[in-house]
Amino acid sequence: MSLDKALVARVAGLARIAVPDDQLQPLAGELSSILRWIEQLAEVDTEGVEPLRSVHPIRRARRADEVTDGGCREAILANAPEREDGYFVVPRVVE
Protein backbone atom coordinates (compact mmCIF):
# COMPACT_ATOMS: atom_id res chain seq x y z
CA MET A 1 0.00 0.00 0.00
CA SER A 2 1.34 3.35 -0.91
CA LEU A 3 -0.04 6.51 0.62
CA ASP A 4 -0.49 9.65 -1.44
CA LYS A 5 -0.56 13.23 -0.25
CA ALA A 6 -4.33 13.35 0.03
CA LEU A 7 -4.53 10.20 2.16
CA VAL A 8 -1.78 11.47 4.51
CA ALA A 9 -3.74 14.71 4.90
CA ARG A 10 -6.87 12.70 5.71
CA VAL A 11 -5.08 10.52 8.30
CA ALA A 12 -3.44 13.59 9.84
CA GLY A 13 -6.92 15.10 10.12
CA LEU A 14 -8.19 11.98 11.89
CA ALA A 15 -5.22 12.14 14.27
CA ARG A 16 -5.79 15.88 14.86
CA ILE A 17 -2.22 16.75 13.91
CA ALA A 18 -1.58 19.83 11.79
CA VAL A 19 0.92 18.96 9.06
CA PRO A 20 2.21 21.81 6.89
CA ASP A 21 1.41 21.30 3.21
CA ASP A 22 5.07 21.06 2.14
CA GLN A 23 5.61 18.15 4.56
CA LEU A 24 2.77 15.99 3.26
CA GLN A 25 4.70 14.62 0.27
CA PRO A 26 7.87 13.60 2.20
CA LEU A 27 5.67 12.11 4.92
CA ALA A 28 3.74 10.11 2.29
CA GLY A 29 7.06 8.63 1.13
CA GLU A 30 8.19 7.73 4.67
CA LEU A 31 4.89 6.20 5.69
CA SER A 32 4.62 4.25 2.45
CA SER A 33 8.04 2.69 2.91
CA ILE A 34 7.16 1.69 6.49
CA LEU A 35 3.86 0.18 5.33
CA ARG A 36 5.50 -1.74 2.47
CA TRP A 37 7.92 -3.24 5.01
CA ILE A 38 5.07 -4.11 7.37
CA GLU A 39 3.13 -5.84 4.63
CA GLN A 40 5.43 -8.86 4.64
CA LEU A 41 3.12 -10.09 7.42
CA ALA A 42 0.74 -11.18 4.66
CA GLU A 43 3.10 -14.17 4.09
CA VAL A 44 2.36 -15.61 7.54
CA ASP A 45 -0.30 -18.30 7.68
CA THR A 46 -2.65 -17.23 10.44
CA GLU A 47 -5.60 -19.39 9.44
CA GLY A 48 -7.52 -20.28 12.60
CA VAL A 49 -5.16 -18.32 14.90
CA GLU A 50 -6.87 -16.39 17.69
CA PRO A 51 -5.68 -12.78 17.82
CA LEU A 52 -3.53 -12.15 20.91
CA ARG A 53 -4.80 -9.34 23.10
CA SER A 54 -3.12 -10.11 26.40
CA VAL A 55 0.20 -11.92 26.82
CA HIS A 56 -0.47 -13.50 30.20
CA PRO A 57 -3.76 -14.85 31.45
CA ILE A 58 -4.03 -12.62 34.49
CA ARG A 59 -7.00 -13.11 36.76
CA ARG A 60 -8.49 -9.75 37.56
CA ALA A 61 -9.88 -9.40 41.03
CA ARG A 62 -12.89 -7.18 41.52
CA ARG A 63 -12.54 -4.51 44.10
CA ALA A 64 -15.27 -3.19 46.31
CA ASP A 65 -17.33 -0.46 44.63
CA GLU A 66 -16.24 2.39 46.83
CA VAL A 67 -14.71 5.81 46.33
CA THR A 68 -10.93 5.56 46.85
CA ASP A 69 -9.78 8.92 45.55
CA GLY A 70 -11.02 12.43 44.93
CA GLY A 71 -11.42 15.80 46.54
CA CYS A 72 -8.31 17.08 44.76
CA ARG A 73 -9.59 19.79 42.44
CA GLU A 74 -6.50 21.95 42.91
CA ALA A 75 -4.16 19.09 41.95
CA ILE A 76 -6.25 18.31 38.86
CA LEU A 77 -6.26 21.95 37.74
CA ALA A 78 -2.62 22.61 38.59
CA ASN A 79 -1.37 21.97 35.03
CA ALA A 80 -4.29 23.56 33.18
CA PRO A 81 -3.23 25.77 30.25
CA GLU A 82 -6.09 28.09 31.22
CA ARG A 83 -8.42 28.03 34.25
CA GLU A 84 -11.02 30.18 35.90
CA ASP A 85 -13.05 29.84 39.11
CA GLY A 86 -12.02 26.22 39.61
CA TYR A 87 -12.81 25.17 36.02
CA PHE A 88 -10.82 24.40 32.88
CA VAL A 89 -11.22 27.08 30.22
CA VAL A 90 -11.53 25.53 26.74
CA PRO A 91 -12.27 26.95 23.29
CA ARG A 92 -15.92 27.59 22.45
CA VAL A 93 -17.52 24.45 20.98
CA VAL A 94 -21.12 25.59 20.48
CA GLU A 95 -21.72 28.92 18.76
Binding site: R16, I17, L31, Q40, E43, R53, V55, H56, A75, I76
Partner: protein, 492 residues
Protein backbone atom coordinates in the same frame (compact mmCIF):
# COMPACT_ATOMS: atom_id res chain seq x y z
CA UNK B 1 41.20 9.51 42.58
CA UNK B 2 37.83 7.88 42.95
CA UNK B 3 35.04 8.73 45.33
CA UNK B 4 31.84 7.08 46.49
CA UNK B 5 30.18 7.85 43.12
CA UNK B 6 32.11 4.87 41.77
CA UNK B 7 30.40 2.40 44.13
CA UNK B 8 27.68 0.03 42.98
CA UNK B 9 24.40 -0.31 44.88
CA UNK B 10 25.26 -3.44 46.87
CA UNK B 11 28.67 -2.15 47.93
CA UNK B 12 27.36 1.32 48.79
CA UNK B 13 24.55 -0.26 50.79
CA UNK B 14 27.04 -2.26 52.86
CA UNK B 15 29.09 0.88 53.59
CA UNK B 16 25.99 2.86 54.51
CA UNK B 17 24.87 0.12 56.88
CA UNK B 18 28.31 0.02 58.51
CA UNK B 19 28.10 3.82 58.77
CA UNK B 20 31.44 4.19 56.94
CA UNK B 21 29.66 6.44 54.48
CA UNK B 22 26.62 8.65 54.87
CA UNK B 23 23.79 8.92 52.39
CA UNK B 24 24.45 12.66 52.18
CA UNK B 25 28.13 12.08 51.28
CA UNK B 26 27.17 9.53 48.64
CA UNK B 27 24.47 11.80 47.22
CA UNK B 28 26.82 14.80 47.13
CA UNK B 29 29.40 12.72 45.25
CA UNK B 30 26.81 11.71 42.64
CA UNK B 31 25.51 15.28 42.30
CA UNK B 32 29.07 16.48 41.70
CA UNK B 33 29.60 13.73 39.11
CA UNK B 34 26.35 14.77 37.40
CA UNK B 35 27.61 18.34 37.24
CA UNK B 36 30.94 17.25 35.73
CA UNK B 37 29.07 14.99 33.32
CA UNK B 38 26.59 17.55 32.02
CA UNK B 39 28.18 17.27 28.57
CA UNK B 40 26.45 13.88 28.23
CA UNK B 41 23.03 15.60 28.44
CA UNK B 42 21.86 12.55 30.38
CA UNK B 43 19.46 14.48 32.62
CA UNK B 44 16.45 16.56 31.63
CA UNK B 45 15.97 17.70 35.22
CA UNK B 46 18.40 17.46 38.14
CA UNK B 47 16.85 17.48 41.63
CA UNK B 48 19.80 18.27 43.95
CA UNK B 49 17.76 19.88 46.74
CA UNK B 50 15.26 17.08 46.90
CA UNK B 51 18.11 14.55 46.71
CA UNK B 52 19.93 16.05 49.69
CA UNK B 53 16.72 16.26 51.73
CA UNK B 54 15.93 12.61 50.94
CA UNK B 55 19.52 11.60 51.77
CA UNK B 56 19.35 13.40 55.11
CA UNK B 57 16.13 11.61 55.97
CA UNK B 58 17.75 8.32 54.93
CA UNK B 59 20.72 8.97 57.23
CA UNK B 60 18.23 9.48 60.05
CA UNK B 61 16.58 6.14 59.36
CA UNK B 62 19.97 4.42 59.04
CA UNK B 63 20.95 5.84 62.44
CA UNK B 64 17.71 4.66 64.02
CA UNK B 65 18.04 1.18 62.51
CA UNK B 66 14.94 1.66 60.34
CA UNK B 67 16.69 1.25 57.00
CA UNK B 68 14.67 0.11 53.98
CA UNK B 69 16.18 -2.18 51.34
CA UNK B 70 17.53 0.77 49.28
CA UNK B 71 18.10 3.15 52.19
CA UNK B 72 20.26 6.10 51.16
CA UNK B 73 21.01 4.77 47.67
CA UNK B 74 20.81 7.46 44.98
CA UNK B 75 19.11 6.58 41.72
CA UNK B 76 18.15 8.36 38.51
CA UNK B 77 14.66 7.99 37.07
CA UNK B 78 13.75 7.96 33.38
CA UNK B 79 11.67 11.06 32.68
CA UNK B 80 8.72 8.86 31.75
CA UNK B 81 7.84 8.03 35.39
CA UNK B 82 5.57 10.61 37.01
CA UNK B 83 7.21 12.13 40.07
CA UNK B 84 4.97 14.27 42.26
CA UNK B 85 6.13 17.89 42.22
CA UNK B 86 9.02 17.17 39.81
CA UNK B 87 8.57 18.05 36.14
CA UNK B 88 7.97 14.97 33.98
CA UNK B 89 8.41 15.62 30.26
CA UNK B 90 8.49 12.24 28.46
CA UNK B 91 11.16 13.98 26.34
CA UNK B 92 8.41 15.93 24.59
CA UNK B 93 7.65 19.56 23.97
CA UNK B 94 4.00 18.82 24.65
CA UNK B 95 4.80 17.97 28.30
CA UNK B 96 7.76 20.36 28.69
CA UNK B 97 6.21 22.11 31.71
CA UNK B 98 4.13 19.26 33.13
CA UNK B 99 4.47 18.78 36.89
CA UNK B 100 2.59 15.65 37.97
CA UNK B 101 0.44 15.94 41.09
CA UNK B 102 0.97 12.23 41.78
CA UNK B 103 3.71 9.61 41.93
CA UNK B 104 4.09 6.51 39.76
CA UNK B 105 3.79 3.24 41.68
CA UNK B 106 7.31 2.14 40.75
CA UNK B 107 8.95 5.34 42.00
CA UNK B 108 6.73 5.40 45.10
CA UNK B 109 8.10 1.94 45.90
CA UNK B 110 11.66 3.20 45.48
CA UNK B 111 11.15 6.09 47.91
CA UNK B 112 9.37 3.73 50.29
CA UNK B 113 12.49 1.52 50.16
CA UNK B 114 14.67 4.52 51.07
CA UNK B 115 16.13 5.43 47.66
CA UNK B 116 17.17 9.01 46.83
CA UNK B 117 16.05 10.76 43.61
CA UNK B 118 18.99 12.41 41.80
CA UNK B 119 17.04 13.58 38.78
CA UNK B 120 15.04 12.68 35.70
CA UNK B 121 16.90 11.24 32.74
CA UNK B 122 16.66 12.09 29.07
CA UNK B 123 14.91 9.75 26.64
CA UNK B 124 13.55 9.48 23.13
CA UNK B 125 10.29 11.42 22.90
CA UNK B 126 7.55 9.29 24.49
CA UNK B 127 10.13 6.45 24.51
CA UNK B 128 9.87 6.17 20.71
CA UNK B 129 13.35 5.59 19.37
CA UNK B 130 16.51 3.53 19.56
CA UNK B 131 19.12 6.29 19.74
CA UNK B 132 17.84 8.98 22.11
CA UNK B 133 17.96 11.45 19.22
CA UNK B 134 14.21 12.14 19.14
CA UNK B 135 14.17 13.90 22.54
CA UNK B 136 12.92 17.48 22.57
CA UNK B 137 15.76 18.13 25.05
CA UNK B 138 18.53 17.18 22.65
CA UNK B 139 20.46 13.97 22.07
CA UNK B 140 22.36 12.12 24.81
CA UNK B 141 26.07 11.41 24.35
CA UNK B 142 27.35 7.88 24.94
CA UNK B 143 30.25 8.07 27.45
CA UNK B 144 32.08 5.52 25.24
CA UNK B 145 32.46 8.13 22.49
CA UNK B 146 36.18 8.21 21.55
CA UNK B 147 37.75 11.57 22.51
CA UNK B 148 37.36 14.08 19.69
CA UNK B 149 34.80 12.09 17.70
CA UNK B 150 32.18 14.39 16.22
CA UNK B 151 29.30 13.74 16.01
CA UNK B 152 29.47 11.65 19.18
CA UNK B 153 28.03 8.14 19.60
CA UNK B 154 24.44 7.54 20.63
CA UNK B 155 23.77 5.75 23.94
CA UNK B 156 20.94 3.77 22.34
CA UNK B 157 17.34 4.34 23.26
CA UNK B 158 14.86 5.01 24.33
CA UNK B 159 16.25 5.00 27.90
CA UNK B 160 19.48 6.63 26.70
CA UNK B 161 19.88 9.12 29.54
CA UNK B 162 19.57 6.42 32.19
CA UNK B 163 22.10 4.19 30.43
CA UNK B 164 24.61 7.03 29.86
CA UNK B 165 24.28 8.22 33.48
CA UNK B 166 25.01 4.76 34.90
CA UNK B 167 27.81 4.00 32.40
CA UNK B 168 29.40 7.42 33.00
CA UNK B 169 29.36 6.90 36.82
CA UNK B 170 26.97 9.80 37.41
CA UNK B 171 24.77 7.45 39.46
CA UNK B 172 24.95 3.79 40.51
CA UNK B 173 21.62 2.74 39.01
CA UNK B 174 18.60 4.06 37.15
CA UNK B 175 15.11 3.06 36.12
CA UNK B 176 14.12 2.58 32.51
CA UNK B 177 11.19 1.35 30.47
CA UNK B 178 11.31 -1.18 27.66
CA UNK B 179 8.65 -1.42 24.95
CA UNK B 180 10.76 -2.95 22.17
CA UNK B 181 14.28 -3.00 23.61
CA UNK B 182 14.53 0.41 25.28
CA UNK B 183 16.41 -0.92 28.32
CA UNK B 184 18.42 -3.79 26.84
CA UNK B 185 19.73 -2.06 23.69
CA UNK B 186 21.06 1.07 25.50
CA UNK B 187 22.53 -1.19 28.21
CA UNK B 188 24.44 -3.02 25.46
CA UNK B 189 25.54 0.22 23.76
CA UNK B 190 26.81 1.66 27.08
CA UNK B 191 28.47 -1.45 28.52
CA UNK B 192 26.17 -1.92 31.52
CA UNK B 193 23.48 -4.32 32.73
CA UNK B 194 19.83 -3.71 31.83
CA UNK B 195 16.90 -5.92 32.79
CA UNK B 196 13.28 -5.90 31.63
CA UNK B 197 11.12 -8.17 33.79
CA UNK B 198 8.05 -10.15 32.72
CA UNK B 199 5.13 -8.03 31.50
CA UNK B 200 3.00 -7.40 34.58
CA UNK B 201 5.83 -7.57 37.12
CA UNK B 202 6.16 -3.79 37.54
CA UNK B 203 3.13 -1.55 37.70
CA UNK B 204 2.60 0.77 34.74
CA UNK B 205 0.58 3.19 36.88
CA UNK B 206 2.06 6.67 36.52
CA UNK B 207 4.38 5.75 33.66
CA UNK B 208 3.58 7.88 30.61
CA UNK B 209 1.99 5.29 28.29
CA UNK B 210 3.44 4.46 24.88
CA UNK B 211 2.17 0.98 23.91
CA UNK B 212 0.33 -0.45 26.88
CA UNK B 213 0.46 -4.14 25.93
CA UNK B 214 4.27 -3.93 25.57
CA UNK B 215 5.49 -1.27 28.04
CA UNK B 216 7.35 -2.57 31.07
CA UNK B 217 9.62 -0.86 33.60
CA UNK B 218 13.05 -2.22 34.47
CA UNK B 219 16.48 -1.44 35.86
CA UNK B 220 19.96 -0.31 34.80
CA UNK B 221 23.06 -0.92 36.92
CA UNK B 222 26.73 -1.81 36.55
CA UNK B 223 26.33 -5.38 37.84
CA UNK B 224 23.69 -8.09 37.66
CA UNK B 225 23.36 -8.12 41.44
CA UNK B 226 22.80 -4.34 41.57
CA UNK B 227 20.19 -4.61 38.82
CA UNK B 228 18.42 -7.37 40.76
CA UNK B 229 18.39 -5.23 43.90
CA UNK B 230 16.81 -2.25 42.15
CA UNK B 231 14.32 -4.38 40.20
CA UNK B 232 13.23 -6.15 43.36
CA UNK B 233 12.25 -2.85 44.96
CA UNK B 234 10.40 -1.74 41.78
CA UNK B 235 8.34 -4.92 41.36
CA UNK B 236 5.07 -6.04 42.86
CA UNK B 237 1.30 -6.06 42.50
CA UNK B 238 -0.60 -2.82 42.13
CA UNK B 239 -4.40 -2.65 41.97
CA UNK B 240 -4.04 0.60 39.99
CA UNK B 241 -2.71 -1.32 36.96
CA UNK B 242 -5.19 -3.85 35.56
CA UNK B 243 -2.33 -5.82 33.96
CA UNK B 244 -0.22 -5.94 37.11
CA UNK B 245 0.30 -9.53 38.28
CA UNK B 246 -0.81 -10.49 41.78
CA UNK B 247 2.25 -12.65 42.38
CA UNK B 248 4.82 -12.58 45.15
CA UNK B 249 8.19 -11.08 44.14
CA UNK B 250 10.94 -13.61 44.83
CA UNK B 251 14.13 -12.65 46.67
CA UNK B 252 16.20 -12.29 43.52
CA UNK B 253 19.25 -10.85 45.29
CA UNK B 254 19.31 -13.49 48.03
CA UNK B 255 18.68 -16.24 45.49
CA UNK B 256 21.31 -15.11 42.98
CA UNK B 257 23.81 -17.96 42.57
CA UNK B 258 25.10 -17.55 39.02
CA UNK B 259 24.93 -21.35 38.79
CA UNK B 260 24.02 -22.64 35.34
CA UNK B 261 25.05 -26.28 35.83
CA UNK B 262 22.39 -28.51 34.34
CA UNK B 263 20.46 -25.64 32.72
CA UNK B 264 19.51 -26.05 29.08
CA UNK B 265 20.36 -22.89 27.15
CA UNK B 266 18.60 -22.46 23.81
CA UNK B 267 20.39 -20.93 20.83
CA UNK B 268 17.72 -19.74 18.36
CA UNK B 269 18.92 -20.37 14.82
CA UNK B 270 16.77 -17.59 13.33
CA UNK B 271 18.81 -14.98 15.23
CA UNK B 272 21.75 -15.71 12.90
CA UNK B 273 20.99 -12.85 10.53
CA UNK B 274 22.42 -12.43 7.07
CA UNK B 275 25.00 -9.69 7.16
CA UNK B 276 25.39 -9.79 10.94
CA UNK B 277 28.85 -8.43 11.84
CA UNK B 278 31.34 -11.25 12.46
CA UNK B 279 32.26 -9.80 15.85
CA UNK B 280 28.65 -10.09 17.04
CA UNK B 281 28.52 -13.69 15.85
CA UNK B 282 31.84 -14.42 17.59
CA UNK B 283 30.67 -12.80 20.84
CA UNK B 284 27.54 -14.94 20.79
CA UNK B 285 29.54 -18.14 20.23
CA UNK B 286 31.90 -17.13 23.05
CA UNK B 287 28.96 -16.54 25.40
CA UNK B 288 27.54 -19.97 24.60
CA UNK B 289 30.94 -21.54 25.25
CA UNK B 290 31.22 -19.75 28.64
CA UNK B 291 27.90 -21.23 29.71
CA UNK B 292 28.81 -24.70 28.44
CA UNK B 293 32.10 -24.51 30.34
CA UNK B 294 30.11 -23.78 33.51
CA UNK B 295 27.98 -26.89 33.05
CA UNK B 296 25.03 -25.70 30.96
CA UNK B 297 23.77 -27.77 28.07
CA UNK B 298 23.39 -25.94 24.74
CA UNK B 299 20.29 -26.70 22.69
CA UNK B 300 19.58 -25.53 19.15
CA UNK B 301 16.03 -24.16 19.06
CA UNK B 302 13.88 -22.57 16.39
CA UNK B 303 11.78 -19.39 16.61
CA UNK B 304 10.43 -19.46 13.06
CA UNK B 305 8.46 -16.20 13.18
CA UNK B 306 11.37 -14.06 14.38
CA UNK B 307 11.62 -12.13 11.11
CA UNK B 308 8.00 -11.03 11.44
CA UNK B 309 8.43 -9.64 14.95
CA UNK B 310 9.51 -6.12 13.94
CA UNK B 311 6.75 -5.62 11.35
CA UNK B 312 4.25 -6.91 13.94
CA UNK B 313 5.64 -4.50 16.50
CA UNK B 314 5.37 -1.59 14.06
CA UNK B 315 1.64 -2.22 13.78
CA UNK B 316 0.83 -3.00 17.42
CA UNK B 317 2.98 -0.28 19.03
CA UNK B 318 1.91 2.64 16.79
CA UNK B 319 -1.74 1.55 17.01
CA UNK B 320 -1.62 1.59 20.80
CA UNK B 321 0.41 4.81 20.76
CA UNK B 322 -2.08 6.62 18.53
CA UNK B 323 -4.77 5.74 21.04
CA UNK B 324 -2.71 6.51 24.18
CA UNK B 325 -1.42 9.83 22.84
CA UNK B 326 -4.90 11.03 21.92
CA UNK B 327 -5.06 12.40 25.47
CA UNK B 328 -2.61 15.21 24.60
CA UNK B 329 -5.21 17.69 23.41
CA UNK B 330 -4.05 20.87 25.16
CA UNK B 331 -7.17 21.14 27.29
CA UNK B 332 -6.37 19.93 30.81
CA UNK B 333 -2.56 19.90 30.92
CA UNK B 334 0.42 20.23 28.65
CA UNK B 335 1.05 22.58 25.74
CA UNK B 336 -1.87 24.46 24.17
CA UNK B 337 -1.43 26.27 20.86
CA UNK B 338 -4.64 28.24 20.22
CA UNK B 339 -6.35 28.03 16.83
CA UNK B 340 -9.53 29.52 15.33
CA UNK B 341 -11.71 26.83 16.88
CA UNK B 342 -11.51 23.67 18.96
CA UNK B 343 -10.42 21.34 16.15
CA UNK B 344 -7.72 23.74 14.96
CA UNK B 345 -6.53 24.15 18.55
CA UNK B 346 -6.16 20.36 18.85
CA UNK B 347 -4.35 20.11 15.52
CA UNK B 348 -1.95 22.99 16.15
CA UNK B 349 -1.22 21.84 19.71
CA UNK B 350 -0.37 18.33 18.53
CA UNK B 351 1.37 19.50 15.35
CA UNK B 352 3.73 21.75 17.32
CA UNK B 353 3.90 19.60 20.46
CA UNK B 354 4.96 16.30 18.89
CA UNK B 355 8.29 15.69 17.14
CA UNK B 356 8.74 14.00 13.77
CA UNK B 357 9.07 10.38 14.97
CA UNK B 358 6.10 10.59 17.34
CA UNK B 359 4.02 12.18 14.59
CA UNK B 360 5.08 9.43 12.17
CA UNK B 361 4.04 6.69 14.60
CA UNK B 362 0.71 8.30 15.47
CA UNK B 363 -0.09 8.57 11.75
CA UNK B 364 0.86 4.93 11.12
CA UNK B 365 -1.25 3.89 14.12
CA UNK B 366 -4.20 5.99 13.04
CA UNK B 367 -3.98 4.54 9.54
CA UNK B 368 -3.79 0.87 10.59
CA UNK B 369 -6.73 1.32 12.96
CA UNK B 370 -8.87 3.26 10.50
CA UNK B 371 -12.04 1.86 8.95
CA UNK B 372 -11.32 -0.67 6.24
CA UNK B 373 -7.72 -1.36 7.31
CA UNK B 374 -8.19 -2.70 10.84
CA UNK B 375 -8.46 -6.38 9.86
CA UNK B 376 -5.65 -6.26 7.31
CA UNK B 377 -3.17 -4.68 9.71
CA UNK B 378 -4.06 -4.69 13.39
CA UNK B 379 -5.96 -7.98 13.55
CA UNK B 380 -3.33 -9.66 11.36
CA UNK B 381 -0.57 -8.37 13.65
CA UNK B 382 -2.36 -9.72 16.73
CA UNK B 383 -2.52 -13.14 15.07
CA UNK B 384 1.15 -13.11 14.12
CA UNK B 385 1.89 -12.00 17.67
CA UNK B 386 0.28 -15.20 18.90
CA UNK B 387 2.48 -17.20 16.49
CA UNK B 388 5.51 -15.50 18.04
CA UNK B 389 4.34 -16.40 21.56
CA UNK B 390 3.79 -20.00 20.42
CA UNK B 391 7.35 -20.10 19.03
CA UNK B 392 8.68 -19.23 22.49
CA UNK B 393 6.41 -21.77 24.19
CA UNK B 394 7.75 -24.50 21.91
CA UNK B 395 11.35 -23.38 22.52
CA UNK B 396 10.89 -23.29 26.30
CA UNK B 397 9.64 -26.87 26.22
CA UNK B 398 13.21 -27.77 25.24
CA UNK B 399 15.30 -25.25 27.19
CA UNK B 400 15.30 -23.11 30.35
CA UNK B 401 16.58 -19.83 28.88
CA UNK B 402 17.70 -18.43 25.54
CA UNK B 403 21.01 -16.77 24.71
CA UNK B 404 21.19 -14.18 21.90
CA UNK B 405 23.10 -11.02 21.03
CA UNK B 406 21.35 -7.90 22.39
CA UNK B 407 21.76 -5.69 19.32
CA UNK B 408 23.00 -6.25 15.77
CA UNK B 409 25.80 -3.66 16.13
CA UNK B 410 27.73 -1.52 18.60
CA UNK B 411 26.74 2.12 19.19
CA UNK B 412 26.59 4.31 16.07
CA UNK B 413 27.04 8.06 15.65
CA UNK B 414 24.32 10.66 16.30
CA UNK B 415 22.56 11.36 12.99
CA UNK B 416 23.36 7.98 11.45
CA UNK B 417 20.25 6.02 10.38
CA UNK B 418 18.08 9.11 10.87
CA UNK B 419 17.05 9.29 7.19
CA UNK B 420 15.65 5.78 7.08
CA UNK B 421 13.11 4.89 9.78
CA UNK B 422 13.22 1.18 8.93
CA UNK B 423 17.03 1.02 9.30
CA UNK B 424 16.64 2.58 12.76
CA UNK B 425 13.89 0.11 13.69
CA UNK B 426 16.20 -2.85 12.87
CA UNK B 427 18.23 -2.04 16.00
CA UNK B 428 15.56 -3.83 17.99
CA UNK B 429 15.51 -7.03 15.93
CA UNK B 430 16.76 -9.22 18.83
CA UNK B 431 14.90 -7.47 21.65
CA UNK B 432 11.42 -6.77 20.29
CA UNK B 433 10.31 -10.43 20.27
CA UNK B 434 10.66 -10.47 24.05
CA UNK B 435 8.17 -7.60 24.46
CA UNK B 436 5.70 -9.17 22.04
CA UNK B 437 5.75 -12.34 24.17
CA UNK B 438 5.88 -10.47 27.51
CA UNK B 439 9.03 -12.32 28.64
CA UNK B 440 11.85 -11.27 30.98
CA UNK B 441 15.17 -10.36 29.34
CA UNK B 442 18.54 -9.05 30.46
CA UNK B 443 21.50 -7.55 28.61
CA UNK B 444 24.96 -8.10 30.09
CA UNK B 445 28.16 -6.44 28.79
CA UNK B 446 30.22 -9.26 27.29
CA UNK B 447 33.06 -7.76 25.30
CA UNK B 448 34.36 -4.96 23.12
CA UNK B 449 34.05 -4.50 19.37
CA UNK B 450 37.13 -4.06 17.19
CA UNK B 451 36.54 -0.31 17.55
CA UNK B 452 36.66 -0.67 21.35
CA UNK B 453 32.92 -0.27 21.96
CA UNK B 454 30.87 -2.43 24.32
CA UNK B 455 28.74 -5.31 23.06
CA UNK B 456 26.02 -7.08 25.01
CA UNK B 457 24.55 -10.55 25.26
CA UNK B 458 20.89 -11.08 25.99
CA UNK B 459 19.31 -13.81 28.12
CA UNK B 460 15.57 -14.44 27.69
CA UNK B 461 13.55 -16.44 30.20
CA UNK B 462 10.15 -18.00 30.72
CA UNK B 463 7.36 -15.78 32.04
CA UNK B 464 7.96 -14.93 35.74
CA UNK B 465 11.36 -16.65 35.73
CA UNK B 466 13.54 -13.58 36.23
CA UNK B 467 15.57 -15.72 38.69
CA UNK B 468 16.98 -17.93 35.91
CA UNK B 469 17.57 -14.90 33.68
CA UNK B 470 19.57 -13.29 36.50
CA UNK B 471 21.56 -16.47 37.21
CA UNK B 472 22.52 -16.91 33.57
CA UNK B 473 23.30 -13.19 33.37
CA UNK B 474 25.52 -13.51 36.44
CA UNK B 475 27.33 -16.50 34.90
CA UNK B 476 28.01 -14.50 31.72
CA UNK B 477 29.13 -11.53 33.80
CA UNK B 478 31.65 -13.65 35.70
CA UNK B 479 33.02 -15.29 32.57
CA UNK B 480 33.19 -12.05 30.58
CA UNK B 481 34.89 -10.16 33.43
CA UNK B 482 34.03 -6.94 31.64
CA UNK B 483 36.17 -4.28 33.35
CA UNK B 484 36.68 -1.77 30.54
CA UNK B 485 35.79 1.85 31.33
CA UNK B 486 34.49 4.55 28.99
CA UNK B 487 37.25 6.91 27.77
CA UNK B 488 35.91 9.84 29.81
CA UNK B 489 36.00 7.88 33.07
CA UNK B 490 39.42 7.68 34.75
CA UNK B 491 40.70 4.37 36.18
CA UNK B 492 39.61 3.93 39.78
Amino acid sequence: MSGPERLGLVEARARLRRRELSAVELTRACLAAMERGRGLNAFVTETPERALAMAEAADGRLARGEAGPLEGLPVAVKDLFCTAGVRTTAGSRILADFVPPYESTVTARLWQAGAVLLGKTNLDEFAMGSSNTTSAFGPVVNPWTPPGQDPPLVPGGSSGGSAAAVAGFLCPAATGTDTGGSIRQPAAFCGIVGIKPTYGRCSRFGIVAFASSLDQAGAFARSVEDAALLLQAMSGFDPNDATSADLAVPDWVGGLTGRVKGLRIGIPEEYRLDGMPAEIEALWARGAEWLRAQGAELVEVSLPHTRYALPTYYIVAPAEASSNLARYDGMRYGLRVPGRDLVETYARTRGEGFGAEVRRRILIGTYVLSAGYYDAYYLKAQKVRRRIVQDFEAAFARCDALLTPTAPSAAFAIGEKNDDPVAMYLNDVFTVTVNLAGLPGISVPAGLSAAGLPLGLQVIGRPWDEATVLDVGRALEEAAAFRALPPAVPEA
